[in-house]
């Protein structure tokens, strides 16, 4: 069985997973929360949400109605 050194080395994978958890994961989590908030304020067409955010949507130039 030929081994493939480097790719699956624990030495190599550790800094990679560290970058993933240190940076990518918090960034993605924050960005997803932001998108959910923006979706509710801007795009959601539930009547109550639409009417509550109506003036804000018109003012920011988002497509409304």
């Amino acid at each position: 069985m030929p081994s493939t050194p480097g790719l699956l080395d624990s030495v190599d994978s550790q800094p990679r997973s560290a970058t993933w958890k240190d940076k990518i994961l918090p960034v993605m989590l924050a960005a997803s929360l932001g998108l959910i908030l923006l979706y509710g304020a801007v795009f959601a067409e539930t009547a109550a949400l639409h009417n509550a955010a109506h003036d804000a949507r018109h003012s920011a130039g988002f497509p409304c109605h």
């Binding site: 997973s17 560290a18 958890k21 240190d22 940076k23 994961l25 918090p26 960034v27 993605m28 989590l29 924050a30 960005a31 929360l33 932001g34 998108l35 959910i36 908030l37 923006l38 509710g40 304020a41 801007v42 795009f43 067409e45 009547a47 109550a48 639409h50 009417n51 509550a52 955010a53 109506h54 003036d55 804000a56 949507r57 018109h58 003012s59 920011a60 130039g61 988002f62 497509p63 409304c64 109605h65």
Partner: protein, 239 residues
Amino acid sequence: MAGMFDLAAFKRIISAAALAGMLAGLLLTAVQQIQVSQLILKAETYEDAASTAAVSQSAHAYSSAENMHHEQDAWQPATGVERTLFTALANISLGVGFGLLLGATICLRGEAGGWRSGLLWGLAGYMVFFVAPSLGLPPEVPGAEAAPLVDRQLWWLMTVIMTAGGLSFLIFARTGKVKILGAVMLGIPHLIGVPQPQVHASTAPVELVHAFIYATAIANAVFWLAFGGLMGFFYKKFA
């Protein structure tokens, strides 16, 4: 392991976004009281007058007027303090939402923050989320004829993504080819063209329609610059 998750980076983004979004959202609400809100209320009097006229004309007109105003059958905040409060809430949600996106971007780029660079991010946000979409779909007062909502939302979303991508290529790319690609991306949504309504019409007079575009351009510029500056400031402070 969950312990590896960088909670500090996450908290930093959340705290900066919450504070900057709340303050900028409140500022936007205050600025809107000067012109934007008055123009919306004025446009609604024309819209209501037009739909009342349609109701008295014929049963058929009544049903179409009914469809146009379906959202008025549902709950809506009472005009006055209640309506302003909900607008403030929506503005703050926008501010915090944009803050989380901007905080994530600043963190990903490994920037230190600070109000100066924040101002530049605010300017970019104004271009991406207001100026570029408004070139095709100018902010409208209530009562304007428009293309189907989903078409406009899709064009809006495409324009925002293309402008954000195009601007970042133009500014951050190291090679000329990628910069050119960025410039092309900026133009694509406008070459494709905006979804058009069958007839261009508005129940509001044309002066009011134009006044609304100017008023929103100023209000949103104030919001984005304040928001960007605050976001940069708090991101650095919470380091």
